[in-house]
């Protein structure tokens, strides 16, 4: 059985890295050698406090929006609102919508309009792709960073 050598500098270096990066665990293996350092995350407690008052309090618009969109908001193709305002899906009343789910769009194409301070702001596609989902409805308010639609 071979003697185990501790490279304290090595571990300390990893610890420092852990600290700096905010990671909770580092594991490095090379051949049959393996080093793993872990730093347990802080409790536990905050989650409960954070969750409970919100539940006990009146629902906010934001909380509802967040709940409804949270799963999709994480999608890498999500286009979020760059401003607070009212979203319009049609160039004018009675017209066809700018885009519909399933449609393919090219970069720079107008996706929808957000009216803020009486100004109509065209929101353009940041990349080409297929519209897989539209979260917002016509003539409804949107917040900053609220998911608008997904381009896949």
């Amino acid at each position: 059985m071979g003697k185990l050598n501790i490279d304290t500098d090595y571990v300390a270096q990893l610890a420092e890295l852990l600290q700096r990066t905010g990671l909770t665990e580092i594991e490095i293996s090379e051949g049959d050698a393996r080093v793993r350092v872990v730093k347990k995350p802080a409790p536990v407690y905050e989650a409960q406090v954070a969750a409970r008052p919100a539940a006990a309090m009146p629902h906010s618009v934001e909380a509802e929006v967040a709940t409804a969109n949270a799963p999709d908001a994480a999608h890498p193709g999500t286009v979020s609102s760059p401003m607070v305002g009212t979203v319009y899906l049609y160039p004018e009343p009675g017209a066809d919508p700018f885009v519909t789910p399933g449609q393919t769009v090219s970069e720079g194409q107008t996706l929808l309009i957000i009216e803020a301070m009486k100004v109509m702001n065209q929101i353009r596609a940041p990349r080409s792709g297929r519209i897989s989902r539209i979260f917002v409805e016509n003539a409804t308010p949107v917040e900053f960073a609220e998911p608008l639609l997904v381009i896949e």
Partner: protein
């Protein structure tokens, strides 16, 4: 009542404890509330407690809490009738107030004209001086000959301050204590000013070597009524940041209070002021000298609420709706003593802000204790904004009892996970100079530079 513009929904254009303070007033008035917040403040207390909330931008204040367009859009999409700016951020931005009004909302504050007037030190000083408020006496303009200098110094009294017109930040100034020193000091300051700023013009001003910061709280309605609610003594400052505030000031007599109160009320009646405001003075040797007027609610407003029993934020919203003041001057009584301590998320020694996560939070309770704070256990103080995390305000019969109550309250206060200024506050309270009211606006910086233990 004729001329009443009812507010059914109010947007709070601020964050932190003052947003929560305004929110509490709306709840108690039966007004629906809209919180606006940056992406960093999604978990903020006022956001959670508000009837509605709107995310208005990224963490950077410039793109969120200072983003007038986003705030107005938020008011529009939520159907709010009024906007309360709190303090800081857009509270004293005349253009914002103007925009609010032009978009058809009620601005909970004074007119844009008054904000603009008081926002400029020169026009403010001129306006209040004309309305009868005492200002720091000095030369009318630049002084070019010794004769005028002598005459001016004689008129305003020694010591006097020679200030280079182009100076600032403490540079290009010299203090002259007697007539015999004046001519030489004028020469050297002019030379210095010419060398330093390429401009040898100097002014003369009365020099205050141990002033206290005393400010008067006022409130005015649309019908020309103005009242004052006594003073706050905010002399404990570091780099012009107030740390401890109290009311009444331990150095002001009832006669002085009435006299300056009357002067201020008459001046604001002349100016046609509306809403809450604070006239800040330096006070020394029985004289008041105007510094500036703040056209908003102040951080330290609770000390006035505690001694007068008047809810200032409620009153602000009420007069903004067009209601007359709920009190007349003779109904306002200063009862007992109140002191506010500002608790910041900062290193108590270096006073460097230390945002981070609060592991445990337990505020003090019991009689005479009020805590205004938007933090809670598990909350993370974001690094983007002001470090004020809680205000502890204590009321009792007299100043000595108020200090004793403050000490026991600070000892009960638990904020864990990040450092706070509680140890500094306890150290200040223990100082004989504080207990015996022997402090001026320079005291705290001297104390911090050389604490007794050093």
């Amino acid at each position: 009542m004729p001329g009443i513009l009812p507010i059914k929904k109010l947007l709070i254009a601020n964050r932190g404890e003052i947003a929560l303070r305004i929110l509490r007033a709306t709840k108690e008035m039966g007004i629906r509330s809209v919180a606006v917040h940056s992406t960093a403040d999604g978990n903020a207390m006022h956001v959670r407690l508000a009837d509605e909330s709107v995310c208005i931008g990224p963490p950077s204040a410039a793109e969120s809490y200072l983003n007038a367009a986003a705030i107005l859009s938020a008011a529009e999409i939520t159907g709010a009738e009024a906007i309360h700016p709190g303090y800081g951020f857009l509270a004293e931005n005349a253009d914002f107030a103007q925009m609010v009004i032009e978009h058809g909302f009620i601005f909970v504050g004074p007119t844009p004209e008054h904000i603009r007037m008081m926002g400029d030190k020169v026009t403010a000083k001129a306006a209040v001086a004309q309305a009868g408020i005492p200002t720091v006496p000095g030369s009318e303009g630049a002084i070019t000959d010794d004769e005028t200098a002598f005459a001016t110094a004689e008129r305003i009294g020694y010591p006097v301050l020679i200030k280079a017109a182009a100076g600032g930040g403490g540079r290009g100034m010299s203090v002259v204590h007697a007539r015999s020193e004046l001519a030489a000091a004028l020469r050297s300051t002019r030379n210095e000013a010419r060398a330093g700023f390429g401009d040898e013009r100097v002014y003369l001003e009365k020099y205050l070597d141990h002033p206290r910061h005393i400010e008067l709280q006022v409130m005015a309605d649309r019908y020309g009524h103005v009242v004052h609610m006594g003073e706050r003594d905010c002399s404990l400052q570091r780099r012009h940041q107030k740390i401890v505030e109290e009311s009444p000031s331990p150095v002001i007599t009832e006669t002085e209070r009435r006299a300056i109160g009357k002067t201020v009320v008459q001046a604001l009646e002349k100016l046609g002021y509306l809403g809450a405001g604070t006239i800040e003075f330096l006070y020394q040797d029985g004289q008041f000298y105007f510094i500036e007027m703040n056209t908003r609610i102040q951080v330290e407003h609770p000390v006035t609420e505690m001694v007068t029993g008047i809810d200032l934020v409620r009153e602000q919203i009420s007069v903004a709706m067009g209601h007359p003041l709920s009190v007349t001057q003779d109904q306002i009584r200063i009862e007992g003593h109140a002191i506010e301590c500002r608790i910041n998320a900062e290193d108590p020694k270096t006073m460097i802000p230390q945002p981070g996560k609060i592991i445990a939070y337990h505020p003090p309770g019991g009689p005479g204790v009020r805590v205004d704070s938007a933090i809670y256990s598990g909350y993370t103080v974001p690094p983007y904004y002001d470090s004020l995390i809680a205000k502890l305000i204590v009321h009792d019969k007299d100043r000595d009892r108020c200090i004793a109550r403050l000490e026991r309250s600070l000892a009960e206060f638990v904020i864990d996970g990040i450092p706070s200024s509680i140890p500094l506050l306890r150290a200040i309270l223990a100082e004989p100079d504080f207990r015996e009211s022997r402090y001026d606006t320079g005291w705290l910086e001297r104390f911090l530079a050389a604490p007794p233990g050093s």
